[in-house]
Symmetry: C2
């Protein structure tokens, strides 16, 4: 295992120290419990957004803390759920009196711990709602999850709900918006290689020299099938068609296409995938009016990509375009 780390135990903390040094104008890091939060928190009267999950998916979620997106993120150890005390601390710290929305990816540990944190925060008098993201069409009921897993749709939801909260919407309206996003976003990914969790010291799974895993999870958990390597267009079809079908997209609709790197795949390859996704949507008469291409929800150094499609309406288009200023996503400011 060759990684730019000093020790397995200190990896997450040291990475956060560097993150805070680079982005101290936007975020602060609390180290006990570990929480990344907006430097200007709490924002009085604004609904606050808290997310979190295992580390190893950077820039998600800490990179999305800032104006127009998250108020706080709780990083667990690599591929490990954060604890309820992190989430409770975050919730208390960023609440500005208008309540807090928990954005939870659908993994059993995350769901359970956010649930406990919400109970604790409610006991302290804070209004809390939650939305569970389960956009991965690849599999139901896998190693880490009951139901579908939460993947790339989470990034888009955090942007859109963040913009809604920034506009001054109340907790019910921000929660409704977030639930609407969950209903209209789907994803699927492919792995070309495994990744190595530092604490394990060896690859999470073995994949042959000429083999890929279709429907991979962001922790390297199994997908739909292993198949021999194919051309990018064929692989992209295998990811995109189930997403289009599951969304029930029809002619004339508008979408945002998000092509994400699992961490180790070069940007130039992502654009080859993006090209094919948009060709398929052209054929279906669906208009691609917004896009995002790059590494936003990763699995350490895993090679591969995921395709996320979000059905857009007038409101979500406006919220996507709204200003955002975070370490990893920024425009309009």
């Amino acid at each position: 295992m060759k990684k730019l780390i000093n020790s397995v135990d200190e990896f997450v903390r040291e990475s956060l120290e560097g993150f805070e040094r680079a982005h101290g104008d936007l975020v602060k890091v609390n180290y006990d419990p570990v929480v990344v939060y907006r430097a200007d928190a709490p924002r009085q009267g604004k609904v606050a957004l808290v997310s979190g999950g295992g580390s190893g998916h950077e820039p998600m979620h800490g990179g999305f803390v800032g104006r127009g997106m998250l108020d706080a993120a709780c990083p667990g150890e690599v591929f490990t759920s954060p604890t309820p005390d992190q989430m409770e601390w975050a919730t208390r710290t960023v609440d500005g009196g208008a309540g807090v929305l928990h954005i939870v990816k659908n993994y059993s540990g995350d769901v359970m711990n956010f649930d406990m944190a919400a109970d604790l925060a409610k006991e302290a008098g804070i209004q809390v709602t939650a939305v569970v993201v389960d956009d991965d069409v690849a599999v139901k009921d896998s190693l880490y999850t009951q139901g579908r897993r939460g993947v790339g749709g989470t990034v888009l939801l955090e942007k859109l709900a963040g913009a809604k909260a920034e506009e001054g919407a109340d907790l019910a309206a921000v929660t409704d918006l977030a639930r609407g996003v969950v209903a209209n976003v789907r994803s699927m990914g492919v792995a070309l290689t495994s990744c190595t969790v530092p604490a394990a010291g060896q690859p999470t799974f073995e994949l042959g020299e000429d083999e890929v895993e279709i429907g991979i999870g962001i922790h390297g958990e199994p997908g739909r099938e292993r198949i021999p390597m194919e051309a990018a267009d064929q692989l992209t079809d295998r990811l995109t068609r189930p997403v289009i079908d599951d969304l029930g997209l029809t002619q004339g609709e508008r979408v945002l296409v998000f092509v994400n790197s699992m961490g180790g795949t070069p940007l130039a390859e992502l654009y080859v995938v993006y090209r094919r996704v948009t060709q398929l949507l052209d054929q279906a008469g669906v208009q691609v009016t917004r896009s995002l291409v790059g590494p936003y929800i990763t699995s350490l150094e895993m090679q591969g990509a995921s395709v996320t499609i979000l059905r857009l309406d007038e409101e979500t288009t406006r919220l996507w375009d709204a200003p955002v200023h975070t370490p990893a996503l920024r425009w309009g400011t």
Copy 2:
């Protein structure tokens, strides 16, 4: 070789097609000769900036085309210099009557071809100046280069000179600014793995399971030495100390620190490196007032990182903060 491509021959073209589909509001792509250029080119009265180089380093350079940065970029095949006809076409297309600055990384092919293109453009009555970036302190006179190689400093120079041109400075002033940046920026990188050029089909070089290459070039060309893997802090010291020394940084000076991924290294590891770079600068009494962390000048899927330090003054700080709107770098708009 597992890559998200359809064919070796069509890789660059198809990637650019996807790029244009994703960023058609900002850039256009001409396919014969291959040039990425601002959708609103030429900008009358503005000095135009043209760069270029082999593909495989994305987002550089095409991702830096847009307001406040480049007017055009000429992508060659993977790790192969673009041709003079690409550069000449780009120069003619983006010239708005105020002249064109060529930003050239110091590789023999790039330098020779930009030279020929400049001669052709001058014959056509266009004012052309050039700046050659040679910020890599690792080695002199290597496989692709006479003198030092041009690496991460190029990204910073393109931002700063782009801002200067956007302000309305004339060709002499933009060229002077660019030369000042070259004099004040230094870099060095480390590779943990090789990368595979599609046309070659196998890794550019072999690196042992527990070995790293200090001073690697962005085409996988040899660096200073191969050593056994070390902790991130030790490796970072090996990159940063020569950079600080070569720049002659002294107490009280201000710098921008740029920690770059070679392509396959996760963001979380880059922040571990960034943490250590800033610790070393703290010790030297040097103030880190700006930063950039992420994959901006890559070598396909190579794992590793590079450290670039730029000495800042009032003008370059202001130019760094100026609005930029490109596919890969955006703020203030």
